[in-house]
């Protein structure tokens, strides 16, 4: 599909040649076609301008004001940003978000990779196993957060099965772990699918050649599989970071950000500052910090995109 797309856009020049031949010197036709082409993209363009680009600009502006939604906007210069540097809640949210990325990401990648390796070949029950591993990704995040807040109760089934009596979501030092455990359960299947696509794109001839040379399973993994998956790893890392920037629903439903802010992520803090406490300026300043982080990642992602696209097609 992707390759075809590229060829087509190259052939696009040929298309306008055809038109030129059919309507010689008819520049009005060309102008009309350009306008029509633009009109096709116009609704979507308007959408992105109004609901994405304007909000970003607006966030930059609001972040320099004090604004409670009802009263007037008061210019405060960079005060909202200066406030963040000494703001305990802000650093706590940064710490929660980074911890989430760190404790959720690597385990979910490893489990996803393991699942992908196990079902890569055509084995009995492959369809079943793939469905079971992937299903938690698809099941409603809200419903699963609701149900997991019961699964993680001190008298709940998780403790019963593991022989523990941790009160996961109500203690400051275990609440984030509770959310991380659920997130790994939900996310591993998604990583499996990504790794599966990557594994299946590695040419079999590589393995054939190595097998003829008598390479064992471990060297195959180390010298062929892992290096070939490098672009996939980059993709997976970026997605994990963005997932961390987005994490909100489990916190909102399961802990409300508590106890003692131990699960209040950046997204949750933006929500609290802006929509609960009506400090739009400070909330926008936090958003801008997140935006800059995402922007840097977007640039990396776009640079890697070609490589990634090639692997996945």
């Amino acid at each position: 599909m992707n390759k075809a797309g590229r060829v087509e856009s190259a052939v696009g020049i040929g298309k306008s040649h055809l038109a030129a031949r059919l309507w010689p010197a008819n520049w009005r036709y060309h102008t009309r076609m350009k306008v029509i082409g633009f009109l096709f993209t116009l609704p979507v363009l308007v959408f992105f301008l109004v609901f994405n680009i304007y909000p970003i600009i607006s966030a930059i502006i609001i972040s320099f004001f004090e604004f409670d939604l009802f009263g007037p906007m008061t210019w405060v210069g960079p005060a909202n940003y200066q406030n963040l540097t000494g703001n305990k809640n802000f650093w706590s949210a940064i710490r929660v978000t980074l911890s989430f990325m760190l404790f959720f990401g690597p385990p979910a990648w490893v489990i996803g990779f393991l699942f992908a390796s196990l079902i890569k070949d055509k084995i009995i029950g492959r369809f079943f196993f793939r469905s079971v591993f992937f299903a938690p990704t698809i099941l409603s995040a809200v419903a699963m957060a609701t149900a997991w807040s019961l699964l993680l109760r001190q008298n709940g089934p998780l403790n019963a099965m593991l022989g523990l009596s941790v009160s996961w979501l109500t203690k400051q030092n275990s609440a984030l772990w509770g959310i991380v455990i659920m997130s790994i359960w939900q996310g591993a299947g998604w990583f499996m699918v990504v790794f599966l696509a990557g594994l299946q794109s590695i040419p079999q001839t590589f393995y054939e050649a190595a097998a003829i040379d008598g390479a064992g399973r471990w060297p195959l993994l180390r010298h062929i599989t892992l290096p070939m998956l490098r672009p996939i790893f980059a993709f997976v890392v970026i997605h994990t970071i963005i997932a961390g920037m987005k994490i909100f629903t489990p916190m909102f439903i399961m802990t409300g950000g508590g106890p003692n802010n131990s699960t209040r992520s950046m997204a949750m803090l933006i929500y609290h500052e802006g929509l609960r406490d009506l400090r739009m300026g400070r909330a926008s300043a936090i958003s801008m910090v997140g935006f800059v982080l995402i922007l840097i990642l977007t640039i990396i992602q776009l640079r890697l995109f070609r490589v990634h696209e090639g692997v996945e097609a």
């Binding site: 992707n2 959408f47 970003i56 938690p136 698809i138 099941l139 149900a147 019963a160 079999q204 909100f248």
Partner: protein, 282 residues
Amino acid sequence: MMQPPSSLWRPRTAYKVMRLILLIVFAAIMLFPMVWIVSGSLKPLEQVFAIPVKWIPDPIQWRNYPEAWTSENFTRNLINSLIVLVAQVSILVFFPALAGYGFAKHNFPGKEIMFVIILSMSLLPLQIIMIPLFVIVKQLGWINTYQGLILPIAVNAFGVFFMRQFISSIPSEYIDAARVDGSGELSIFFQIVAPMVKPALVTLALLGALASWDEFLWPLIVISDQDLATLPLGISYLKSLYQAPAHWLLAVSVVMALPLLLIFLFAQQRIIESAAQTGIKG
């Protein structure tokens, strides 16, 4: 782990057996929460947290479902969710397809730049722009309205990118031939392009339906009127009640998750393929 083609190297039986055992163990771990949720939703309340875990409810208490359903205004929530879903899916399929045709088969100044800008929006999460978006929606007078609920998150960059990719793969000869015959661009779109990318439209509609059904943050922000609340909001209301009965919470969670599971089983291949290209959710 990795396995070369069978003609050169066959996995030993021991390995195959071990792999199968591992898979069964992992499947059991992954299934355990789902089984507990479904089983708990059918138990009498005092059995939900019984230790050791009672996997088969006895008696099976079906009335949990109607009781949970009527404990909050879930019928209303369901209707709202469906209205939002139908509207969002229609918008998500129609406008990105139009734009995809424009980007793939037309040339106009600024096209490349526009496309790159839209593409870069695909990594901009709602969480980052929720504050200004809320302010904008408030200025439009859209708080507690269907349009406020539906429109601001209806289109996404992935849809545009996805449709452009598919429409690019249609040979331009078909389109040129229709142009020579004097067809208008809109009729080319509806009669040639749209039918040829039908599988892509279906995939996009399914992904849109999954996302719309489960969207939580945006409704939470724009809706405070309970008559406009969607199902995810309804569940969070029930959850936030002091001492909400566990078996009801589980029953409602099953109701919420079941349509997603059905869509998944019905369109597994499509969903998995596109999941590899995009994050369906968080």
